[in-house]
């Protein structure tokens, strides 16, 4: 394998990397000019489809395939939404892109809009990213002035408008239909599907929702071609006919107990241990890792022994995690108490559950109140059974909720109790030596479950 050369982050080190001048000096908007001149909308869409690009937002759905779900010969308007509501704990790769190379995102968005025949693109940005907002706003203004946006872009006959929308900081707005509802000015309650957004999305028109990093990859593919893209990453597993492969570069976010936390670009398929040791400089203070989150807290947990799992779209799933997610690795060293770890996770999901479906609304809250009590030294072994029951019963995989974020709430509970059950039992027996065997309902801890 030739030495990997970063492309998504290649220009981020330059001074004023967020300006059009610097971006153009490094070959920016050449891809757009080439595509608008040489390709049709269909041929460019097919190019992306052939590249095997999969969505970088979490679910890993093939991008080109998603675009083909749009109705043919639709009179329009068709909308493209860029999901920049990056709220998965531990994830900040989109922030790097938008803050330090916003034109790369915008060029990718224009190309994706061209391929989907969208006439309007929205960037749904979380409110916590003020610098991203400033840089993107300035970049969009520069693009309008330079003729990359607006009517008849570069004389091609294709027109596109781009708008920013800032969300008010809710995890649920990262769910594509929650995002659409929020963009329409409503409460971000995910919609029931079907109809899928490609058929009836924003303002009841066909809509594609793509992640920031996905469109950045679209730009790179337009620049460097399918061959280059497919030379990076992991080809499909020949034994799994449903595997679409994991091609291309990926921005990995590394945080937690490592020496050099940060955002690193690496080929898909790098193992978690490689990432920690080669990029992150190893676990801090010379300690060992106890657990790591493979791709945002909602993907579950890897044990120390599972750190050799390749971080591609299939790897984490093979060891019981939900998937690659956002490829945000958070490392916990050997001193971490798993009760605290799971408590923190549950508090996050109890706080962020949108409250639409009963199982998620009440299940996340119930698990938090149990963990509050366990943490306070009043845990029972029975609580662990109840917790894993909640973990196994909520989500779209069993079918009990509308959106997939509920699976994300369930997975850390499920994984923690499966892979670290001993830690929990030990903690409960140690802190509640007289009551750990009680199975009848016990009085709730005062203030438990508040978040």
């Amino acid at each position: 394998m030739p030495k990997f050369e970063p492309v998504l982050m290649a220009n981020m080190h330059r001074p004023d990397s967020h300006t059009l001048k610097v971006y153009e000096s490094t070959g920016g908007y050449q891809a757009l000019k080439k595509v608008l001149k040489e390709s049709t909308q269909e041929s460019f869409r097919d190019l992306i489809k052939n590249s095997g690009l999969r969505g970088r937002g979490g679910a890993g759905f093939p991008t080109g395939l998603k675009w083909t779900f749009l109705p043919k010969d639709h009179p329009g308007p068709i909308y493209l939404c860029i999901n920049a509501d990056e709220s998965e704990p531990g994830t900040f790769n989109n922030r790097y892109l938008m803050e330090l190379d916003p034109h790369q995102v915008i060029e990718g968005t224009i190309l994706s809009s061209f391929a989907t025949k969208a006439s309007t693109a929205y960037i749904y940005l979380r409110i916590e990213y003020p610098t991203c907002y400033e840089h993107l706003e300035a970049a969009i203004a520069e693009c309008y002035a330079a003729g990359y946006l607006g009517k008849n872009i570069l004389g091609s006959g294709y027109s596109l408008d781009m708008y920013m929308h800032r969300g008010a900081a809710a995890y649920i707005c990262g769910e594509e239909t929650g995002l659409i509802e929020s963009l329409e000015g409503k409460r971000a309650w995910p919609r029931i599907k079907p109809p899928f957004p490609a058929v009836e999305g924003l303002f009841r028109k066909p809509t594609v929702v793509n992640n920031v990093e996905t469109v950045a990859c679209v730009k790179q593919i337009a620049d460097r071609g399918v061959e280059w893209f497919k030379s990076i990453g992991v080809p499909p597993d020949p034994n799994n006919p449903r595997d679409a492969g994991s091609y291309g570069p990926k921005l990995y976010c590394l945080s937690g107990h490592v020496n050099k936390p940060g955002c690193y670009e690496a080929p898909l398929g790098i193992t978690c241990r490689q990432l920690i040791d080669e990029y992150g400089g190893g676990v801090w203070k010379g300690r060992k890792a106890k657990a790591a989150i493979p791709g945002g807290i909602s993907m579950g947990l890897l044990t120390e022994a599972e750190l050799d799992t390749p971080l591609d779209f299939n790897g984490p799933g093979k060891v019981g995690c939900l998937g690659l997610g956002t490829a945000a690795v958070v490392v916990a060293d050997e001193t971490v108490n798993m009760v605290d770890f799971l408590h923190n996770s549950c508090r996050f999901f109890a706080h962020e559950s949108c409250g639409q479906c009963t199982p998620c609304r009440e299940g996340t809250h119930w698990s938090l109140s149990m963990l509050d009590r366990i943490k306070a030294g009043k845990g029972r072994l029975k609580d662990l059974d109840l917790l894993s029951e909640i973990g196994n019963h909520i989500g779209i995989i069993p079918g009990t909720t509308i959106c997939g974020l509920s699976d994300g709430a369930a997975w850390p509970i499920k994984n923690a109790l499966k892979k670290f059950r001993g830690d929990f039992e030990e903690y409960i027996k140690r802190t509640n030596p007289t009551g750990y065997m009680i199975t009848d309902a016990v009085p709730a801890l005062e203030g438990a479950g508040s978040h």
Binding site: A170, R187, W189, I192, A350, H351, E352, S353, C354, G355, Q356, C357, T358, P359, R361, E362, G363, T364, H365, W366, S369, M370, R373, L386, H393, I396, I397, P398, G399, T400, T401, I402, A441, V442, P443, A444, L445, A448, G449, H451
Partner: protein
């Protein structure tokens, strides 16, 4: 025709029917529990109580494939060869989970909850819930918050089905209710200073599957299991909503809409819903009386028919005021009686109360300005007898000028109005009438001047039929007995016509249907959803 399979039973549905899993299961006699779904509103599929399994049958091979996860029945359309499984181990497990989840923060204050006895949470818990509480035991907490003048919210009993929120958005179109906060902190609320204030507000109480939204008018007044339901018709306006009159021991406690796709669907307005308190008002008249030379004397009901008949026979030319609050049968009998004494008697329709203008809501539900239930029915009856409709004002003129060349010597006035409907000046116009019979709910100047002062029955006490603004005739039976001292118009007129025994509205309606073409569709009984009289009119016109 499409065939749907529910738990092994084949159900056939029409080609143009768009039904979901809950509805086809209902046809198969299987109840799928649900909170958030309501046939009159959009599907949100959020309560997750109706989870079931679904799949398809291959029409060629008959092989059934079931999707290996649960789906909400409310959101799953029933198409040809769709298969539903409504009960298996997984489904029971998930229903138990939803029930258990809903009860985690519920105060379980059934003993003091108005909804107990008709509460979905209670019913489903017994059928689908866990047999014991596994969640931590919380201290009792129950917060109450006013939503508006008519509705109060018991915050902690809510299961967040959002039916009420959708109602105000989709049906009333006023959008007062909303969900505030997120996750398990979610509550139903209104904007500060913008209470639930629309003319359909009471419906949210009916919609609430639990005891969260309660009706302030009904609150703590009666246990639901003591009440008996009687199909009725709202007499508040010309829409004539189908209602259930709920009473215990001859006291009406509440009116609720009765589903009728032809008239009101599932709804009724607050004016109608709370418009029954006059039935039990202290001021109601409850004694037949007569002015004689010796002053006012009480009458015995058994003497009333003969007395009235004798007096009216001696009065000369007669007239009758047929109130639009009378049923079709009562109107017919009144006209027939007066005409039997004087075959040229003037028949006038009573004053039609009109308030404001018709008010139509977002989904098309309309409150009519015409505040009486039976204008069309009464007019059709009067027209049958006289060939034309005489209005009340025209009658007043004829009282002075005479009719058919004769002075009017005797008038029968039927009332039944909830509000003051005549004043001193009206009463004066009747001053020259020798024999005035007034039958009404409440005293009025006209009533005080009458020779015969008869108490009248209120709408839950009447038997008979009403014709609404869209020419739909609905027949109802009495729900409560009239207060002691009151004889219903129907019974009195039945006797005056010389019939024996108890008043039977069905007999009269059959006679009317045979005699008056407008009513011919009502022959042979009326369906509980009513009968459209226009059908016959249209048929006659072509």
């Amino acid at each position: 025709m499409a065939t749907v399979i529910v738990d092994g039973k084949e159900i056939t549905i029409g080609d143009h029917e768009r039904l979901n899993g809950i509805q086809v299961a209902q046809r198969a006699g299987i109840e799928i529990p649900h909170y958030c779904w309501h046939p009159g509103m959009s599907v949100v599929a959020s309560c997750r109580m109706c989870l079931c399994k679904s799949g398809t049958r291959d029409p060629a091979t008959g092989k059934i494939t079931i999707v290996p996860k649960v789906v909400p029945a409310c959101q799953t359309p029933a198409k040809d060869n769709t298969v539903f499984v409504t009960d298996d181990e997984d489904i029971r497990k998930y229903r138990a989970m939803v029930e258990e989840d809903l009860l985690i923060d519920h105060p379980v204050d059934c003993p003091i909850c108005d909804k107990a006895g008709e509460c979905h949470l209670q019913d489903y818990h017994f059928e689908h819930g866990q047999k014991e509480r596994r969640a931590d035991i919380k201290p009792f907490h129950s917060r109450r918050r006013e939503m508006g003048d008519t509705v109060t919210l018991f915050v902690d009993r809510c299961v967040m089905c959002t039916r009420c929120v959708r109602f105000t958005r989709e049906i009333a179109g006023t959008s007062e209710l909303m969900v505030v906060n997120r996750g398990s902190h979610e509550e139903i609320d209104v904007f500060p200073g913008l209470p639930l204030d629309n003319k359909l507000s009471g419906n949210v109480v009916d919609l609430c599957p639990v005891g969260a939204l309660c009706d302030k008018d009904f609150l703590y007044s009666q246990r639901v299991w003591f009440m008996k339901k009687h199909a009725g018709v709202c007499t508040g306006c010309a829409t004539g909503c189908s209602i259930n009159i709920e009473e215990n021991q001859d006291t009406v406690y509440r009116l609720r809409p009765r589903e009728n796709p032809h008239i009101n669907q599932w709804w009724m307005c607050d004016e109608g819903r709370y418009g029954f308190h006059h039935v039990h008002a202290d001021e109601r008249l409850n004694e037949p009386r007569q002015w004689t030379k010796a002053g006012q004397v009480s009458l015995d009901w058994k003497d009333v028919p003969t007395q009235i008949k004798t007096h009216l026979q001696a009065a000369g030319h007669l007239a009758a005021v047929v109130s639009p609050h009378l049923t079709v049968e009562e109107a017919y009998m009144l006209c027939a009686f007066v005409r039997s004494l004087d075959d040229k008697a003037v028949l006038a329709v009573g004053p039609i109360p009109v308030e404001g203008e018709d008010e139509t809501f977002k989904n098309g539900f309309t409150i009519r300005a015409e505040k009486c239930p039976n204008r069309r029915g009464v007019e059709a009856v009067v027209q049958h007898f006289t060939g034309a409709v005489t209005t009340f004002d025209e009658l007043l003129d004829q009282l002075a000028a005479g009719a058919n060349g004769q002075a009017i010597g005797g008038v029968w006035v039927s009332g039944g109005y909830k509000t003051d409907w005549n004043d001193e000046s009206t009463a004066e116009r009747f001053a020259n009438v020798k024999e005035l019979v007034v039958q009404d709910l409440f005293s009025s100047p006209l009533f005080e001047n009458a020779t015969f002062q008869l108490p009248s029955a209120a709408f839950p006490e009447r038997d008979g039929s009403y014709v609404n603004v869209a020419d739909r005739l609905q027949s109802v039976r009495w729900a409560i007995r009239p207060p002691s001292g009151v004889m219903t118009e129907g019974q009195l007129l039945w006797r005056l016509l010389g019939r024996s025994g108890l008043f039977n509205a069905q007999v009269i309606l059959n006679e009317i249907a045979a005699e008056i073409p407008y009513f011919s569709a009502a022959a042979g009984g009326v369906h509980e959803l009513g009968v459209d009289l226009k059908v016959n009119q249209l048929a006659a016109a072509t």
